[in-house]
Symmetry: C2
Subunit: 338 residues, 2 copies
């Protein structure tokens, strides 16, 4: 029901997904009248009478709208009726409801949102956290690194993905105490064979592809992601304006079409749509709210791949392996007082 | 002496700057043998026997290299022999030496680094802090807003530049306690006529040009800046590869030359080279270490403009006006223990 377009986008995406995944089944959760037109032997409507609005607070979503499509969908995962939930709706509400219903995994204090950003190597860098936690202790960052490694081992079929810790330049004053302590924990985890830690990375390394996984707190990750979206939008808009300026530039644009199309594809977030909510006792994926059918289908594929490849078991196994380090109590958690 | 290229870049930039500014005078601070070839009636060499390396720690720069070009240059400002200092060297050392010798302005606890980022409106957004302070209280962010407003009023000749507070999306869990408190302080400052505060902005607003000034802590600012540099580099590299792929794409590139040149110019950080170190009792500007002569000349022009337009007096006046708010004691400063 969620996202900027609702069923007008999600239903066509569901049909494409079912066509390309002959063993998949879908539960369509939402208002019956909005979904009942969808007829497919491997899809079934699970009715929910309410919808969490994009502007609804977490409190409203959790306490007032007890029959929301978000909540009913997560409930399907909790009950084992679904192997994963996918939503294009309100991110804060999705995370809060998922955390409330599913609970976090043992030794994970905070779930994280992990997304993929296309990089210069033609692949993608997985960055987490992207907004679930506005400030994090060193222990949280270690947990993110462990969970991110499990996710990327599934996505890239690589059992030793590299992890970098997002920090500021060497020539400037280096990160604060929590970041330094996170570096120590990550080095210890690498020494114990839990992680393939490559050290500090900087903002530009996300695009260089220096590490498969980049860990940071949710505030920093969110700002970095939105800043790059802003730059990409500015560049595409600029090219559009300049290439339509006069007949000569229009001719140049026509000749440049394959290049511009390739650039657009390279920058296309849709290919990587479907952020993972990691650290929960169930699989939940978040599609961008503005996703079109192609992008929403990607999020469905991502959830399908995660379920097929036992992502949850892999996360659990990695956490168990890293348990001695994860269990360390935080000496001085830098959490807000509230 | 500093930067990736040293006098090979800075001296040609100095000559161009002197040619275009007939009333300007330059003190060239550094090793005499490296600078003595520069002969100009309005330039004079001030010898310094040591150079702070790009990898030198702040401690080494401050305590061991007491006759460094950085230190001697700042000393010229302190003694009134120069109206501003410009360096392409080690940022951390420059900030530490400037702070040690010049001291911070009254009611300013921490200096900040302010830089300009080209935006979609064809102008530039001034962002601070860019790396001097890895975590900031609400009071620091207010101080940055006041100092940034003074800087932009000089750069843009606009007495009421708009200020935005960098935060994460509305749909995600909003920023931590310090950010919320900073929003309250900024609103109070706007009500008192000290600032033209437009509210929270997100990462993409830096490129949209939603506010003239965006304030954030130095860790977030540094990551955002380097992340966008990474994306811009990736895009330019991608276009270079794609446009040289075959004869047809080479023809397209030739026809697209004006567009690609305009894009390169739009993304060219050199046009905005010269970050201001704000909050000190003297004017100090930092050039990017990789600056070429054109870029370093920009940094010199920026310092010249700031001195000509009494930036320091304007910062002082704004601080005095906002004094009742700035003087508020921090209830619970979120500074690192160390």
């Amino acid at each position: 029901m969620g996202g900027d377009h609702g069923p007008a986008v999600t239903l066509p995406a569901c049909r494409q997904f079912l066509d390309s995944h002959p063993d998949a089944q879908l539960l369509l959760v939402g208002r019956a009248e909005a979904l009942q037109g969808f007829d497919h032997p491997r899809a079934r409507v699970v009715p929910a009478t309410e919808v969490v609005g994009m502007d609804d607070s977490v409190e409203v979503a959790l306490r007032k709208k007890r029959d929301s499509s978000t909540r009913v969908a997560i409930q399907q995962v909790k009950e084992g009726a679904a192997q994963a939930a996918v939503s294009a709706g309100n991110t804060g509400a999705l995370m809060a409801i998922a955390r409330y219903l599913l609970k976090t995994l043992e030794r994970i204090e905070r779930p994280a949102i992990a997304t993929q950003i296309p990089n210069a190597r033609g692949g993608a860098t997985t960055v987490l956290d992207l907004g679930a936690n506005v400030d994090c202790t060193a222990e949280h960052l270690l947990q993110f690194a462990v969970m991110g490694s499990a996710l990327v081992s599934v996505l890239n079929n690589d059992d030793r993905p590299t992890v970098g810790l997002l920090n500021i330049g060497e020539e400037a004053i280096k990160g604060g105490d929590e970041i330094k302590r996170a570096g120590e924990l990550l080095r210890a985890a690498a020494a114990a064979g839990d992680l393939n830690f490559v050290g500090n990375v900087e903002g530009n390394d996300i695009f260089k592809g220096t590490a498969d996984i980049v860990v940071c707190d949710g505030f920093v990750g969110n700002v970095a992601l939105k800043t790059t979206e802003g730059l990409a939008t500015m560049i595409m808009q600029f090219l559009r304006e300049e290439f339509t300026r006069n007949p000569l530039t229009r001719l140049a644009a026509a000749l440049s079409y394959p290049v511009l199309k390739a650039l657009k594809k390279r920058l296309d977030h849709r290919r990587y749509n479907g952020a993972a909510l990691l650290g929960l006792r169930g699989l939940v994926f978040k599609s961008h709210g503005s996703a079109d059918a192609l992008a929403f289908e990607q999020a469905l594929c991502r959830a399908y791949d995660a379920a097929s490849n036992q992502l949850l078991d892999r996360v659990r196994a990695r956490i168990a392996h890293a348990a001695p380090l994860l269990a360390q109590p935080a000496p001085a958690p830098a959490q807000p007082a509230a």
